[in-house]
């Protein structure tokens, strides 16, 4: 415990590093996955290709991706930018399916009546479909946020400074308190992002309640074995920390 008190500034520095590493991927992956998810939703052929591709990306283990990426993109392994790109890739891999599913979840009846009233194309998407898909998107974004915060710690073993550095440093020097501090801060950070997103959701979508058990039951109902077989990507639990 003493260690913690005497190293508060270290903890704070690492937290800031971690913020810089984790916030951009969350935001970027959201916006990148919107068009991709829409394509997957709109075009049957696109759906298969995009979702399979995205599923494969998600299957790639984290540390190897951090290492292989420089060879493809040209960044340096120890460069924070490299980590940000990799985390964005994971975020996209997760979020694309959420966007596709979210758009699917909008009642056909609602969409058709909106079209009948005169919405079409852009306006239909931005003013009707996206907002109505909102709760689903928000839920997916929360998962992305939590897993990004958690994954960012892995960068420490390749030398990218983050809260994960408290783990590596603590391990090498045998200081348990340092590791615990790192874990606590990581979880706190993840929780903060989660709450912030929930708050944002309430602000932007006052018509919808937060994702709750009744919605879950309907989701589970779709996730019938038949639908599961038809989907190319993994089912529940796929947003596991890697």
């Amino acid at each position: 415990m003493n260690w913690i008190w005497s190293n508060l500034d270290l903890i704070w520095d690492r937290t800031v590093d971690h913020l810089v590493l984790s916030v951009p991927p969350i935001i970027l992956s959201f916006f990148i996955s919107l068009p991709l998810g829409w394509l997957a939703y709109r075009f049957q052929l696109g759906r298969g290709v995009i979702l399979t591709g995205v599923g494969l990306l998600y299957a790639i283990p984290s540390l190897p991706l951090f290492i292989v990426l420089p060879a493809i993109v040209g960044t340096n392994v120890r460069d924070p930018l490299n980590l940000i790109i990799a985390l964005t890739i994971y975020g996209v891999a997760l979020m694309v399916r959420v966007v596709a599913d979210g758009l699917d979840s909008v009642d056909t009846d609602v969409r058709q009546s909106a079209t009948a009233v005169g919405f079409s194309g852009w306006t239909l998407f931005w003013q009707v479909q996206l907002p109505l898909a909102g709760p689903v998107l928000l839920a997916g974004l929360r998962v992305v946020a939590v897993s990004t915060v958690s994954l960012a710690t892995v960068g420490a073993v390749i030398g990218v400074a983050s809260l994960g550095s408290l783990f590596t440093d603590g391990f090498q020097r045998g200081i348990q308190a340092e590791i615990v501090a790192g874990i606590v801060m990581t979880v706190l950070l993840a929780l903060t992002f989660d709450w912030a997103l929930v708050g944002l959701g309430r602000l932007l979508m006052p018509w919808s309640r937060a994702v709750g058990p009744s919605l879950l039951a309907r989701w589970a109902a779709l996730r019938s074995p038949g639908a599961a077989a038809a989907a190319p990507a993994p089912a529940a639990g796929e947003e596991a920390a890697k």
Binding site: L56, A59, I60, P61, L63, P64, L65, I67, A71, R97, V98, D101, D104, S105, V106, D109, L138, G140, R142, V146, S147, S150, T153, A156, V157, F167, T168, G170, F171, Q176, I179, G182, I183, T186, V187, L191, D194, G212, P213, A217, W219, A220, A221, L222, S224, P225, G226, A227, A228, A229, A230, P232, P234, A235, A236, G237, E239, A240, A241, K242
Partner: protein, 246 residues
Amino acid sequence: MNLFIDALNWILDPANYVGPGSIPIRLFEHVVFTFVTLLIASAIAVPLGFLIGHTGHGRALAIAVSGGLRALPTLGLLTLVALWVGIGLDAPYVALTILAIPPILAGAYTGFEAIDRATIDAARAVGMSEGQIVRKVEIPLGLPLLIGGLRSGTLQVVATATLAAYVADFGLGRFLFSGLKTNDYAELLGGSLLVILLALVLEGIFSVIQRIVVPRGVSAGRPPEVRARSARPRPGMETTIAEGIN
């Protein structure tokens, strides 16, 4: 591209196929570790998941715990347990088994929950005992989602076992850390490619299993009109820590 060629050369270099740190041995260690971890995690998570799915009790707790575990950084858990228990395989086994439980648990109980309640009700009404309902109706119908959960769990363990090489001398991750230390990018990249290959192969196998395991009566017949009428979003997508809905 040169880097990839170097990596490829490293992978194909016969020198890497002899001795205690050779590619086949590391691969073997990695696979065995993954398999054992999954086995233990399943032994805990599958019966528990079935119980939760069948009775409907304990869901909230399961979700909260799953969600909480998911927010836990793997590296942190690994290093912490390693400091307690010491260098070696024990720490990774403990840490990764714990982390593998949430996806498998989720797969087990969402598999049961996805079954039409009317089917269960009908099975009970014609006189199946609870045990018969679980064995003859819920498990066959819930199997695809369970396999999905196992698939997630496997990927996760393969990934984190790579990381576990940081605190223990086993698995393909050793190539990564060794390469990092000696700045041997060929080894670093080669090892990474091997892990990725392993993950993709396992992913492919599970994908096939998941398709095979769907009961014939469920996949046969009219295709679900997923796009024609309103479909519902999939579970697992909105897992969070606070709400912890899985």
